[in-house]
């Protein structure tokens, strides 16, 4: 009976994260860890990070979108009958995972942020958010392969295993796709991708005027952090670009420190910042819901508190 823990992600970092996640699972189940690679060089690299077998996907033509690989992957999976198939939860990854699951007539858990192996039943108990972040759903997939898409940075990168050996199998080229790319322009990337930022100063509706964002900017720059916001600031007031609004339908961030200035703390926003290590909230209203989600709360007017914070941080950090 063929088996294996399969990994696919459209970029190197996420592949290494999923390799890390799949490695001990493969170990526990005593099966191979298999990863897809888009280039020969990445294939070699993935082996060094603990993969037993790499399935190399031949390069695509200019007009073939990434999703053109779906039939090739489905074919490979039908032959190998893997136990588990993790796919990086990028927008393309989620589409591919769904179409692969549909072709293999199996279940798929979207955007799982944790899983645990039920040893005797060999079933993965997967956890994901539902109802806009209000609840956590635990699911199991009773068919094979057990599929899940996993967001970036849910797991650390896999450790290097210099001595690891593995084989590379070259798969057939992706068939011509009815969907053809006629243009692609990379979005102008923010200076710092907010999902990468270690420290985030978040602007909420308590900030009264667009000019006051400078206050948040100053605090962020002293701490080497970046400025983000809640949905209304970006989508309604357009004071900040959509790329920096954090929430269930915005960005999910995992900073060491999140400082909320006048952020009320609606559930949809909390869901985006839930994984911050430390949350410091400043709000005039002591009953604002943000305080229920905060480690440290300052009840007061951000226009008095923030200048003091800036002064205090400056001399502590000797700037």
């Amino acid at each position: 009976m063929m088996a294996g823990i399969w990994i696919f992600a459209e970029n190197r970092e996420q592949t290494l994260e999923l390799i890390n996640a799949g490695w001990n699972l493969a170990d526990e189940l005593g099966v191979n860890l298999v990863a897809f690679a888009l280039t020969e060089q990445l294939a070699q690299e993935y082996i060094k990070y603990g993969t037993d077998e790499v399935l190399l996907l031949p390069p695509l033509t200019q007009e073939q979108p990434l999703e053109s690989y779906v039939p090739v992957i489905v074919e490979a999976a039908r032959n190998a009958d893997p136990d588990v198939f993790f796919i990086g939860a990028t927008k393309r990854g989620k589409e591919m995972a769904t179409r692969i699951a549909a072709s293999l007539n199996t279940g798929l858990a979207t955007e799982c942020n944790a899983f645990a192996l039920d040893q005797e039943k060999k079933l993965l108990v997967m956890e994901r958010m539902i109802y806009g972040g209000k609840a956590v759903q635990k699911v199991v997939c009773t068919t094979r392969p057990q599929m899940a898409t996993i967001p970036a940075r849910t797991f650390e990168l896999a450790p290097l295993q210099e001595a690891k050996e593995g084989k590379i199998i070259r798969l057939t080229a992706a068939p011509p796709s009815p969907v053809k790319i006629i243009n692609r322009n990379s979005k102008v990337q923010e200076a710092v991708d907010i999902t990468e930022a270690k420290i985030i100063v978040s602007v909420g509706r308590g900030v009264e005027k667009k000019e006051d964002i400078a206050l948040a900017q100053e605090l962020a720059s002293i701490l080497g952090g970046t400025v983000g916001c809640s949905r209304p600031i970006a989508e309604e007031l357009h004071w900040l670009p959509e790329e920096v609004y954090m929430g269930i339908s915005g960005k999910k961030v995992k900073p060491d420190l999140y400082i909320g200035l006048g952020v009320s703390g609606q559930i949809q926003h909390i869901t985006g910042i839930r994984d911050s290590k430390i949350i410091l909230a400043i709000n005039r209203d002591e009953n604002a819901p943000i305080f229920d989600a905060a480690d440290y709360g300052i009840v007061g007017d951000l226009y008095d508190v923030v200048p003091n914070l800036i002064k205090a941080f400056s001399n502590v950090l000797k700037i």
């Binding site: 309604e236 209203d285 002591e286 009953n287 819901p289």
Partner: protein, 94 residues
């Protein structure tokens, strides 16, 4: 039972905020001529506040009762309508 603030109480309710059209609009110049501003203490949702000397009002938590429109002494200061169909407060009990 623990004492609750107006923000907490309004937070329990269900509102469909109409981002496109404010159903209550103030003429702040007329409000400025109003001495005691009864709206600031009569409104059951405490939506009328005085911020650095000027009346400030947010229609997002409005319970659509009509008290402000009734107690306002200055003709023409408040243009009062119900929110557009389906927007505004939505009582689950009533």
């Amino acid at each position: 039972m623990k004492r609750m603030s107006i923000e907490q109480l309004l937070g329990i309710n269900k509102f469909a905020v109409d981002d496109a059209e404010a159903h209550i609009v103030l003429k702040k110049d007329i409000c400025a001529t109003c001495a005691d501003k009864p709206c600031t203490f009569s409104c059951p949702a405490v939506l009328y506040k005085i911020i650095d000397g000027e009346i400030s009002f947010d229609y997002a938590g409005c319970l659509e009762c009509g008290t402000c429109r009734t107690v306002c002494p200055k003709e023409g200061a408040i243009s009062w309508k119900y929110p557009r169909g389906g927007f505004g407060i939505n009582f689950r009990y009533g």
